[in-house]
Amino acid sequence: MAKFPASLSLPFPLPPEVPQPASQAKAEIPQPLWLALVFPKLALELHDDQPCDIPAVAVKEYRGRSVVHTASQLAEAQGVSANMAVNAAYALCPSLKVYPVNQQAQLDRLHQLAGWAEQFTSKVNVQLPQALLLEVRGSLKLFGGLSSIQEQIWQQLTEQWRYSFQSAVTPTPMASLLLAFSGRSDVVQSKQQLRSVLGRLSINNLPIGLKKKQQLRNTGVRLLRDVWRLPKDGLARRFGPDLVNYLDRALGLIPDPLDFFVSPEEFEAFYEFPMEVHSTDLLLNVSGQLLQQLTLFLRQRDICVNQCLIQLYDDKHAATDIVIGVRQATRDHQHLTRLLGEHLNRLSLEAPVRSVRLTAKDFVLFAPQSFSLFLEPTPDLALDHQEGDIEILLEQLQARIGSEAIKTLHSVADHRPEYAYRISEALATRSEVIKQQCPLWLLPEPCLLSRKNHQPWLQGPVTLVKGPERIEAGWWSGHDVRRDYYIAKDNKGRQLWLYQELNEHCRWYLHGLFA
């Protein structure tokens, strides 16, 4: 028998026995009731393209290795579990589909869910990375009782969102979370029951580090019940005051104030014309004012936007959307208006417009453009501005003739001429100098030349001036090139760029012309 020394403090004392007041007094200060929603597979399920018949996992980096963060049910059925190395998972199911964990997307999705949950209560708390807490005491009447509200939540989750979820209800947020995380859907109405309900849970579910969990397990502690038996001061000394504090919060022994979710701000401005509008000038004028409102909104919050949406409504058709995007976040309404003008110039209105809506979200913090110390003061600023001006010019160009119409030439380090440059739509940074000695004017496709006396022939004889330059490269990409290039002259004096294939055919091609 273990002896109890006198110094033993009673672990987790029960709340002091307060004389129970009359029942109506209790009704006046109702205990809160927390409904926890845990989305155990959110990291995976937020990928909408995830096929349901292929085992899948979301993967995180852990100490330089890829390990499983979340496994789909199919994957779990084949033995894949969290924290397993991805390679091991592959060994278990070779057809595994792998997604990286995307924390930002998870946060966004959780915020969306929080927004959705606001319909049930105004007190929604977001618990990263995959849970929500809803205080539902105040909503019970409105929704017709706890089971009814639960049912509605579950139904919407199943039908609308289709995420796996676990939920539990208790008087304290942490207890609800803990139960939900453990996959227990208990409903506990009074704090007094918490100790015995939570006592059955494994310490594996505690939100403490793996090392601390291992230390707890080493001492033979498996369940929270075992923890209740340990002295609080001893626990705090070994596992930190946070653990004791957390358990006290879960049992409702100390208060646990939470921040509530607030829907993010969006800018929205709307203007309804008194009459039908045909003229784009007028549209531009009105939109310009809306944009000015937006700028004001941005200034007040010291933020700026990457893009905003202008929607034109008429009576019959769906809204016409105009997206104004900028390369560098801005709050310059003149620039935005200019861009809008370019868009409107290209627009042919199908029907007269009745109203305009301007919306903007996804704001970024405003970072004033900093100028180099040595370029100041003014005269040289022009240099700096030039670059900005080019960008503005490019944006204007893009807005006027369409973003597809502007392309950039990049040089790419590749021995194969046709791969040595690439055209891309993105307005990328300045391209490097093209290294190879090849003409700028390449034919879109090399052009097969006829031969006379084993010599290439292009509307006449061709003289090889310089070469060969042998290029053998690209086998790894499936586009193996083996050619001897020559600079040649035709009888019109044009400088040609020819090559001969290094295969059994030895065919000649014209690949480019020198300017």
Binding site: A91, V98, R229, R238, D414, R470, W476, D484
Partner: protein, 1052 residues
């Protein structure tokens, strides 16, 4: 045919050519061909000579040298360098002296850099000027835009360094402006009065290695091919080009100049003469007279009552041969090293053909008594082969470093260095590197590499990939397979040989370049063991052997408690009790005959004497097993089969092994007496045997063997049978000379086990890691033999495991009582050796009173304390494991000024650990338990599944179907057994041997590789007292072990 005739005469009219700038794959991850391939190709193309000019290395030249002799083409020894400032040039050795300087320059450059790199500046080249070398300046066309722009300042420097010995390399590789380049260089040559010469910057022997060369570049630069861009060569011109092509590309004069250079490079590696260290001979003696003197002294020591005539004769015979071959210094060198070890109390033993000579026995290099051995080792040195004798010396593994440091001390780093081992691409590393290069994702590459199991041979890679869901039609996989095939066997880097030392009289760096090894204070030469052998250079293998450590320790313990000093030589020979034990396969922990294959053979072979052990050790090897030699030998030994010899000559060779060739020496002798091979040819056969699986090349011997035997009147059937046996031997044939030395240690360790089990187990535990068995099995075996084993206890245990005697015993009766074995602190996984040191030091002052007291006084960190708690070593201070952990977790980190802890805590209500928890924790922390076996706790559950115990299997009939289960304690795939996997299972009643055939091993690879607790369905097979279960289905029950620790899942 007319056409080819024309070609031939054309070729005669072509200008002669010698390629002067050519790197092999010994310029690691640059060259894409083996030196042999380059030589062969150059010879075929009719080159006059080929220079192998690997970058700051001579690693590949010996192989090139051998190939050049074979293909009758001149090899030029050279090396390419890039200085820190970017200047690049090639140097060629013209004679022995300049070769020495070249080797020295490489050594200097290599020794100043990290392993694998080199550091060279103009100043170093000037300081260590390679006198007599020819230099070839490699112009760098830095600016791609203006290729004429060239920095001729570096040329001027090189010309100053090598006046009249300098050329400009003209490398025209179809870059598009070859013409301009040539003009630029011509002008440059005129300006500086330097001749020009044609070269090809060769990186591969054939154009079709272009993809591999690109891949090597990608691996070297650590980037996928698609991202390399201009870092790849633009084309595949850097190959050995035909002379017709060269004629079209280069002016004739430039081609002819190559031959003039080649003619000035007259040096051949054959000129290297090795000189043995001389300091070992006292004045007044020659090496030979001194060797005779030492041998005679040894003879007197070995046979104080007079040397047997047989031995005397043998010694005289050997001495005469040694004298003739001038090998006396070699024996003296080995003798000196062994003397040192003896003096320092380090147990050692020689092995190898020369080691088991009568001379070596007299010199104390080996303990194989020539009198006892019927003098089998007469032909330990071959006159014809002119090959240095071979002696390997094994030392205690924990003390070999002392011997190595002695050699460095005695001869200096200038004169002694380790031989290199070239690390080459194996299937898995090849798949990994090539996969990355061709742009597969890391996950894919890992998955691929893992899918290639370690037991798979090269030829099944393709099949493996297919089975793992990689489509062979996928172009990526096709390229992968193609490149992996090419890259297999390619050298990757140099590493140090396990112990091959080269010692010379003069500076070693004049013989072969020396470079830094990865281990600090270690240097390696750039040549491998085979290279040394091919050039006839001396090499002594200083090897490490765990069993020698264990035997020395055990002898020490026994000497201490029996109070009489016992040495290896005092162990009584041929003790019948020892052989009885061996015949029962009761050999856990003893040397060599402890493996499961050996153990299963012991009851059949029933060794009765020393020579039986020699055979036992050699016969249970992949070679004899694959050559189907085991069963005939067993049948003949048991008298089921009669032995007939086709001739007296064959009888002389094979009679000691009942007509079955078991040893490598016998195969060589057979080739000589039955097929008429010369000793040199027989040795070539031995080498080809070692390599034919990898490279082929045994076919050339097949015809000669068969014909030779036919000509000498042997039947075709016999000849074919011998050839098949030779083939089966492959690279695994075991020499009798090694087996004889090993058998001595096998006997000695068996004797110790037989009479001093506790001391023996204690010594083996204290020499870990070594041998075949883990501590758990060694301890379990000791307990089965009645040794009382005491747990690790922080209050009592020493660093090592120790022997304990009952307190009331007086010293005098210690000799007659059985000691107990107290496990040592070193068995605790993760416990630091500083921690152990502190515990023992502090404990001497005052015994520990509490966990806090221990932690404070021994200044143990939390991790050490946790390890102690986990190992239950704190039990005497804290009570059970859970309480120990709780107390450890509560230790105050700050070191208090006063030694008393600041406050005391009362007892806490912690659950008591269950038996299962304890056992599993025991296994996890010390790898062994003194409690019940884990399987005993699962027995009820196992019974419900009708799973039988190990001991029950013996009651079943041969062929019965059965299911058994146990902890997987060993998985083995002997190279010989054709992909069969042997698994040893252990339960509370003993061990079971399971045979898993290849098809099952592959279809249930996961269970086979991963299970810690494995259930096996199969058939019982027993014969000659050996029991196997032939598996038909495997089941992984590992999760059952998890449940032993109640509900946690942490056992791993």
């Amino acid at each position: 045919m007319g056409c080819s005739h024309d070609a031939k005469s054309d070729r005669a009219r072509l200008p002669l050519y010698a390629e002067l700038h050519c790197i092999s794959n010994y310029s690691f991850l640059r060259g894409a061909s083996f030196p042999e391939e380059l030589i062969e190709r150059a010879a075929r193309l009719g080159y006059r000579a080929l220079a192998i000019t690997d970058e700051c290395s001579l690693s590949g030249v010996v192989r090139a040298h051998i190939a050049a002799k074979e293909h009758n083409i001149q090899l030029i020894i050279g090396s390419e360098f890039a200085l820190q400032d970017g200047v690049r040039f090639v140097l060629f050795a013209t004679d022995r002296a300049s070769y020495g300087y070249l080797s020295r320059l490489i050594t200097v450059a290599r020794r100043q850099a990290e392993k694998g790199g080199y550091y060279l500046t103009r100043k170093i080249v000037e300081q260590h000027h390679p006198e007599g070398c020819l230099a070839l300046w490699l112009p760098e066309f830095k600016d791609a835009e203006r290729k004429q722009a060239i920095d001729d300042e570096s040329l001027q420097w090189l010309v100053k360094c090598f006046p009249q010995h300098c050329w400009i390399a003209v490398e025209l590789l179809l870059s598009g402006d070859d013409h301009q380049r040539l003009q630029t260089l011509l002008t440059l040559g005129e300006t500086h009065h330097v001749p020009l010469v044609a070269c090809g910057d060769v990186h591969m022997h054939r154009r079709n290695r272009r993809a591999l060369q690109d891949t090597l570049t990608a691996i070297r630069l650590g980037k996928p091919l698609a991202q390399l861009g201009y870092e790849l060569f633009p084309n595949g011109e850097r190959c050995l080009r035909s002379r017709q092509r060269l004629q079209k590309i280069y002016p004739r004069l430039l081609l002819e100049e190559t031959v003039r250079i080649a003619e000035r490079c007259r040096f051949s590696l054959d000129e290297l003469r090795y000189e043995y260290p001389r300091e070992l001979v006292p004045t007044g003696h020659t090496p030979q007279t001194w060797l005779r003197e030492l041998t005679e002294r040894g003879m007197q020591r070995r046979w104080p009552e007079g040397t047997p005539d047989k031995v005397k004769k043998a010694v005289e015979h050997e001495l005469a041969l040694v004298d003739e071959m001038v090998y006396a210094p070699y024996f003296l060198t080995v003798h000196d090293i062994v003397q040192y070890a003896r003096g320092a109390g380090i147990l050692c033993q020689g092995r190898g053909s020369a080691a088991n000579s009568a001379i070596c026995y007299c010199l104390g290099i080996t303990e194989v008594d020539p009198d006892r051995m019927q003098l089998l080792f007469e032909r330990f040195i071959s006159r014809e082969r002119n090959e240095p004798p071979d002696i390997d010396v094994d030392f205690e593994h924990e003390r070999r470093e002392e011997v190595i440091q002695y050699i460095y001390r005695k001869y200096g780093r200038e004169r002694a260095a380790l031989a290199a081992t070239v690390i080459t691409y194996r299937a898995r590393s090849a798949v990994r590197d090539v996969g990355k290069a061709i742009g597969m994702s890391l996950d894919q590459v890992d998955r691929l590499a893992k899918s290639i199991f370690w037991w798979h041979r090269v030829d099944v890679i393709q099949q493996q990939l297919h089975e793992n869901g990689f489509s062979l039609h996928n172009p990526l996989i096709k390229r992968l397979v193609m490149l992996v095939r090419q890259i297999l066997g390619f050298p990757r880097h140099l590493s140090q040989h396990v112990g091959g030392f080269v010692i010379s009289q003069g500076k070693l760096s004049h013989l072969v370049p020396i470079e830094n090894a990865s281990m600090a204070e270690r240097t390696v030469i750039q040549w491998e063991k085979d290279d040394l052998e091919a050039l006839g250079l001396l090499k002594i293998d200083i090897l490490a052997l765990g069993m020698l450590s264990a035997i020395r320790k055990a002898l020490g313990y026994v000497s201490a408690y029996t109070r009489q000093s016992i040495t290896l030589a005092d162990i009584p020979p041929e003790d019948p009790a020892v052989y009885r034990m061996i015949q029962q396969a009761d050999t856990v922990g003893v040397f060599q005959i402890e493996s499961r294959a050996q153990m299963s053979m012991l009851p059949r072979l029933k060794p009765r004497n020393y020579y039986d052990l020699v055979i036992e050790i050699a016969i249970i090897r992949p070679g004899p097993i694959q050559g189907n030699m085991v069963h005939p030998y067993l049948r003949r030994r048991s008298g089921e089969e009669t032995v007939a010899y086709p001739s007296e000559a064959v009888r002389a060779v094979l009679s000691r092994t009942l007509g079955v060739p078991i040893f490598q020496e016998q195969v060589m002798q057979l080739a000589m007496v039955a097929a008429g091979f010369s000793a040199g040819e027989a040795d070539q056969l031995r080498r080809s045997m070692a390599a034919w699986k990898r490279r082929g090349g045994l076919e050339q011997f097949e015809g000669r063997l068969l014909q030779g035997m036919k000509a000498r009147g042997y039947s075709e059937q016999f000849a074919q049978q011998i050839f098949n046996q030779i083939k089966g031997f492959g690279e695994y044939g075991f020499p009798e000379s090694h087996s004889a030395s090993f058998a001595l240690l096998a006997y000695a360790s068996s004797w110790l086990k037989c009479y001093h089990q506790a001391a023996f187990t204690c010594a083996v535990l204290n020499s870990q890691p070594m041998g075949f068995y883990a501590p758990a099995q060694l301890v379990a075996d000791a307990r089965r033999h009645g040794v009382q084993v005491l747990p690790v206890d922080v209050k009592v245990s020493e660093y090592d495991s120790t022997l304990e005697f009952a307190d009331n015993q007086s010293l005098s009766d210690m000799a007659n009582t059985k000691p107990s074995l107290r496990l040592g602190l070193r068995l605790i996984k993760g416990l630091s050796s500083t921690g152990i040191g502190n515990i023992i030091r502090v404990r001497e002052q005052r015994s520990f009173t509490s966990v806090q007291d221990l932690a404070t006084r021994a200044q143990l960190n939390r991790k050490d304390m946790e390890c102690l708690a986990a190992a239950n070593a704190l039990k005497s201070l804290s009570g059970d494991r859970h309480r120990a952990y709780w107390q450890v977790a509560g230790i105050e980190n700050s070191i208090p000024v006063f030694e008393t802890p600041r406050f005391t805590e009362g007892d806490v209500m912690l659950p008591k650990p269950s038996e299962g928890q304890n056992i599993v924790a025991d296994y996890a922390t010390t790898g062994l338990t003194l409690g019940r076996h884990p399987l005993a706790l699962l027995r009820d559950r196992l019974c419900r599944r009708r799973i039988r115990k190990a001991e029950e299997l013996w009651e079943l009939n041969n062929g019965s179907k059965v299911t058994t289960a146990g902890l997987v304690i060993c998985r083995q795939r002997p190279g010989s057994a054709g992909n069969v996997v042997f698994v040893t299972l252990e339960d509370e009643t003993g061990q079971t041997n399971v045979v898993v055939w290849p098809h099952l091993a592959e279809s249930q690879a996961r269970e086979l590789v991963k299970a810690r607790l494995l259930a096996v369905q199969g058939k019982v097979q027993h014969e000659d007292g050996v029991l196997h279960v032939i598996a038909s289905r495997l089941e992984d029950l590992s999760q059952w072990l998890g449940t032993l620790t109640t509900h946690s899942r942490d056992f791993c």
